[in-house]
């Protein structure tokens, strides 16, 4: 499973738990439009860290939090293995 697929599947799981209806997941989707609040993103980042072994937003000191879903996915894809 690709990183992208894992991220999408974790988001769908959290959306179901949080009773959030996700719009179609596309790269240009603004994170604001996902319906996720900061708590949902905190949960997502924690679970992805457990699954992928990395938290790109804590590693890089000056990492700006992404604004689109595409940027969010790339933050995980670009972490050196």
């Amino acid at each position: 499973m690709s990183v992208r697929t894992k991220i999408f599947s974790a988001m769908e799981q959290i959306a179901e738990e949080q009773k959030v209806t996700l719009p179609p997941l596309q790269d240009n989707l603004s994170l604001n439009e996902t319906g996720f609040d900061s708590l949902a993103f905190a949960i997502l980042v924690a679970r992805l860290e457990d699954e992928l072994g990395v938290d790109p937003f804590t590693i890089a000191e000056d990492a700006a939090f992404p604004s689109t879903l595409g940027e969010f996915v790339r933050a995980y894809e670009n972490v050196p293995a």
Partner: protein, 461 residues
Amino acid sequence: MFPPDSIALRHYLGQGPKDRTISDARHSVSLTDIVEFSCLAGRCCDLSGRSVLIATSRQLLSALAMIELDGVARRMLLCPPDLDWERLQALVEQAGIDTIVTDRPLSGSRAGKYTVIGIDLPDRRATRRTVDHATEWLMLTSGTSGLPKIVRHTLDGLAGAIIAEGPARYGDATWATFYDIRRYGGLQIFLRAVLGGGSMVLSEPGEAIAVHVARLRAGGVSHISGTPSHWRKLLMSGATANFSPRYIRLSGEIADQAVLDGLAQAFPHASIGHAYASTEAGVGFSVDDGREGFPAHLIGRNRDGVEMKVVEGSLRIRSKRTARAYVGADAPPLADEEGFVDTGDIVELRGERYHFVGRRGGIINIGGLKVHPEEVEAVINRHACVQMSRARSRRSPITGAIVVADVILTAGTDEKCHETIRAEILTQCKDSLAAWKVPAVIRFVERLEVTAAGKLARTDA
């Protein structure tokens, strides 16, 4: 200094049945005729007015030393087993100790300026002793980080709750506790045995639960106490069969409904009570109705000499059972100006009952919203497949922290059910807790660490 009406511990030994004993895994000592013996090679007279550290390898020897020294020494500091010498030395300085009673060899440099008196099982006739001191009982707090604080109690204060209940009520009891008797919770049980005319079976460090329970059964233990963590471990062990105490007591941590129900199921014939006590605040109250929390009417009234109030969410207690003071040069005041001890335990009124939600210092801050790990655990523990759980803080780049939970499932839970159980626990949490208190991640683990004081280890607290 010389209170004529002061009653020393050993005066209680003539009461009750004639076959009273105190035992550990290796020895059983008669409590009935111990007054005529000495465990200090008859040197008890030398200890009159001294400030004594009792540092023994076995609880049994500490018990005998307490009996022999109460009313004789100026003060005695009870040393729990898990203290290293460096930390102990700092505490000994603070407490102004001049004499060490121990069964361990002390090298010259360590013995130094102290008089060292050896202790062993009682075998020599004691010289007649008189009670000439109201001995101060010094105990250490059970905090996990840094140097513990020393608190000063009197026997009257320590025994306050026992006297209020009428000690004779337990005349035929054989007591046991999972605690070490050199800690407050364990000492309460030791005093119940001595004051009430009963016997006692001591715990043994490192002893397997099944072996311990076999010893409790063989010793005829009828009354037994421990922390909820101790009890969860016992329930998990499956070693409860054929053990049927009449009285089960929980203290030292929050007794949630799940552990109370679990005990009621495992011990259908026992009466089950949970007590609120701490080394500093003494015994506040005990609750025997099988429900978590305590009735709201206990607050604001003077009941058996105990007054309680809730200020800024935390329980405050004023009574003669609280410790008298912290000991040491820079010791902070133990009570406020009105004599109330702030327990640091946060309570919440729900209907007619107060519930404990956690420690003030243990709060997790999630983007400014607060949660006590204990309130999350109480909800998780309600799931039928959960034996024990620990909620803790995990750093988050988004909210600063989030709640995660480590969960031990009951033995024999099929791994195939893990995902279903995880979803059920989450649903349960969502139904009873605010969104930020619901664990972001639930991990199933084999074990959770319990501290030497019998409490769930909270490294992030």
